[in-house]
Symmetry: C2
Subunit: 412 residues, 2 copies
Amino acid sequence: MAGKDLPVSPLAVPMPAMPPIAGVRLGVAAAGIRYKGRNDLTFMEFAPGTTVAGVFTRNKCPGAPVDWCRTALKSGKARGLVVNAGNANVFTGKPGREAVQATADAAAALLGCKPKEVFLASTGVIGETLPHAKLTAALPALHGQLSEDGWDGAARGIMTTDTFPKGCVRKALIGETEVTIAGIAKGSGMVAPDMATMLCFIATDAKIPAAALQAMLKKGTDASFNRTTVDSDTSTSDTVLVFATGQVKHPRVPAEGGAILKDFARALNELLLDLALQVVRDGEGAQKLVRIDVTGATTARSAQKIAMAIANSPLVKTAIAGEDANWGRIVMAVGKAGEPADRDLLSVGVGGTWMAREGGVVPGYDEAPVVAHMKGREIEIAVDIGLGKGKATAWTCDLTHGYIDINGSYRS
Amino acid sequence: MAGKDLPVSPLAVPMPAMPPIAGVRLGVAAAGIRYKGRNDLTFMEFAPGTTVAGVFTRNKCPGAPVDWCRTALKSGKARGLVVNAGNANVFTGKPGREAVQATADAAAALLGCKPKEVFLASTGVIGETLPHAKLTAALPALHGQLSEDGWDGAARGIMTTDTFPKGCVRKALIGETEVTIAGIAKGSGMVAPDMATMLCFIATDAKIPAAALQAMLKKGTDASFNRTTVDSDTSTSDTVLVFATGQVKHPRVPAEGGAILKDFARALNELLLDLALQVVRDGEGAQKLVRIDVTGATTARSAQKIAMAIANSPLVKTAIAGEDANWGRIVMAVGKAGEPADRDLLSVGVGGTWMAREGGVVPGYDEAPVVAHMKGREIEIAVDIGLGKGKATAWTCDLTHGYIDINGSYRS
C-alpha cells in the first residue's frame, strides 16, 4: 500500500480489530491524487452534535489544511473529515487556500452542514498545487458508500510510506456507562519531496463538551506524541483530531470536564501513547524502539528536556543502531540539554544495569546483560540526574542506513 | 595518522606552510596513550608575558581539562599547553581531576612556571581514567626537543579520526607593524566510544592584553565555530585557546583593545572561520560543504537561529546527500526554528536560482543549473524571510551513510 516498496518495519505491531463507533460513518476511495491503484482519499461523516478538539504542528510554516482546521476548531463542532494522501498542500500559496475551500464546500454540500464543520488534512508532496477537482469528483460516490465498518480501510488510506497501518481501541467508563475510543494514525513515511508527517484521527461515542475534550487532548499529546521523536524535524502538517459523537447515553459531562472524565482521560492517554509509539516503531529506517527514562532532575520539565535531548542526539541514535551501549554519548546529550546537571552526580543505566554512577564508570559492572539487551528490538535507557525529583520519559528509534536510504534518495 | 583507516575527506584542503611564531616553541611525541606508532602528545611553551583567551563547550557535563582551563584562564597568563589525543578525560571523577593536576604540575616544573599557567586539552575515549603517568613520563624528553618549527607536527598530533590536518596563517597590521597569527584545529573525528570534539589552538606574536584578546575571540567564535555544525551534538571537550606572546614591537594596545586592533580582529576572524570550515569539511562522512545564507529575518539573531535550524535538519542534510534541491524541507526547517516567518513571503534559492518565491514554487524555473549545482562539492542555499533586514550565514555538511558507518560501528 505504501508509495515505495519498503520492507515492513521489524518493530511493526498488528492492526487491531476496529469496532464501529456510533455516529461515525467512514470510507475510502482511489482519487488518483498521486498514487496509482490504491486508496488515497478518506472521508468521515459525524452525527449532528459531534464535538471536536485538535492539536497541530508548531511549525511556523504550516500547510493550508492546518490553517483551515485551526479556524474551524473555534466552533468546537464537526460533521466531516476529508483526508488525502499523496499531496500535502503545503507552500502552495493562494491555490492551496482555494483547494481547501473547494474541498470543504463540496463535503459540506454532501453532509448538509457548514464548510467550517468539515475538517481537512493532507499528506504527501510539498509545493505542488493539490488537484482538488479529483477530490471533489470522488466525494459524492464515496459519500454514498460510507459505513460504520470503515476504520481498517481508513488506517490504510491515510498511509504514505508507512510500512504498516496503525490503529488502537480503548474502552472507558463515564459514570457506569462504557464508551469506546478508536483511533488511527500515520507516521513518518515520506513521499519525495515531502517530510515526515504525523496524522492521527480519533473518535468516541461519548458526549463531551469541546472545551473539556480540548483540555484532555492537549494534556494527552504532551505526554505521548510530544515525547516521541524520529529525527527532530517538525512537519508542516502534523495534526491530531478527536471527535466525540455523543451517541452513547451517560451522565452529563460538564463543560469544564472534571472528575467524571478521569477514566476517559486515562483511556485517551493510553490510546495516544499507543499510536505515538506505533509511529516511532515505523520511523524511517528504525530497527530498534528506544525508551529513555530520566529521573532526579530538578523539575519534570527539566527531565523532559533532557530526555528529548538524548532522544534527538544523532550520536546516541547511531550508537544504538550499532548495538553499542555508549553511555559517554548519553552523558554528552544530558550536558547538551542545557538543563541543571552535575557531571559528578550523574548515573546512566541500560536495560536495568547501571554502567555509570555518580560521575564515573561502575568498576567491574557486568557487561553481559548490557550486550544482550542492546541486541534486542526494545532498548531501555535510564538516566538519573541526582539533583531532584523531576522525571520524564521519551521514546525514539535508532538512526540507521535505512534513514539515509529513504531520505537521501535521488528525486526522479 | 588517524585512529581508524578512514579515506581522506573529498572536501579536504591542503595544510598550509606554518611559519614560526616568535615566543612559541612546540613539539610532539608518542606517549602511547591509546594509539600505537603515532604522535599523540603535543607540548607548547610560550615566552614569559604571554597572554591567553579561551572559549569552551557549553555542554553542562564538560571534561576535567575544560574545568581546569576555565579556572586557569582567570589570570590571563600562559606559559604552556599540553594536549593529548586518545583519551578525553571526561566523566572520570576524582582520578580525572588528579590527572589534570599531575599533568599541569609536571609541565610547570619543566617550564618554571605556576601549574595554573599551563593549559590542558584532551580528546579521545570517554570514561576511562587518563594514564597521566605516560604523559608526565614523556614530557621531559619532549621539552628538550621543542622548536619554533613544530606547527605541522602539532596539527597532526592532535588529530583523532580527522582525515586531514588543519592549519591556517594570517598576517595583520597593528599600527604599521606586521604581526602573524597561526592556528591549528582538530575536528569531528571520533574514537569509539567518544564523540565529535573540536579543539583549536592559536598563537600570535602580537602583544595584546588578555581582556582585549578574550573579547575578540568571543566575537570571532560566535561568527565562525558557532555558525557551523556537523550533527547538532555538543562535545564535552570543545576548546578554543589563543595565546599572544608579545614578541613583536608594535604600538601599545590598551587593555580594552579598540580601533588599533581592527585589522588584527579581521585577520583573527578570517582564521577562525577558515579553521571552522576545515572542521566541517572533515565532518564525519561529509561529501558536500553547505553554506546557508538567510536574509530578510526580523533580526540578525533570528536569522542565525533560522540558519542553524536549516543546518541541523537531518531531512535537509540527507536531501543534500542525495543531490536533491528539496526546498520543501528547507521551508519545513525555517518553520521549525520557531522564529518569525510568514510562509507566503518566503523565498528559497539554490546555487543562485530562486526555486520558490513568496510562498510558492517559481513557475517554470530553470532546473538545469540547480541540478548541476547540487552535483558539486560546495552547495549554496539562500533563504529570504521577507520580513526585515536581519541576516546570517551558517555552514554544515551533508548527512551520509559515512556518518552512520563511523558512528554506528560496533564497539570492540
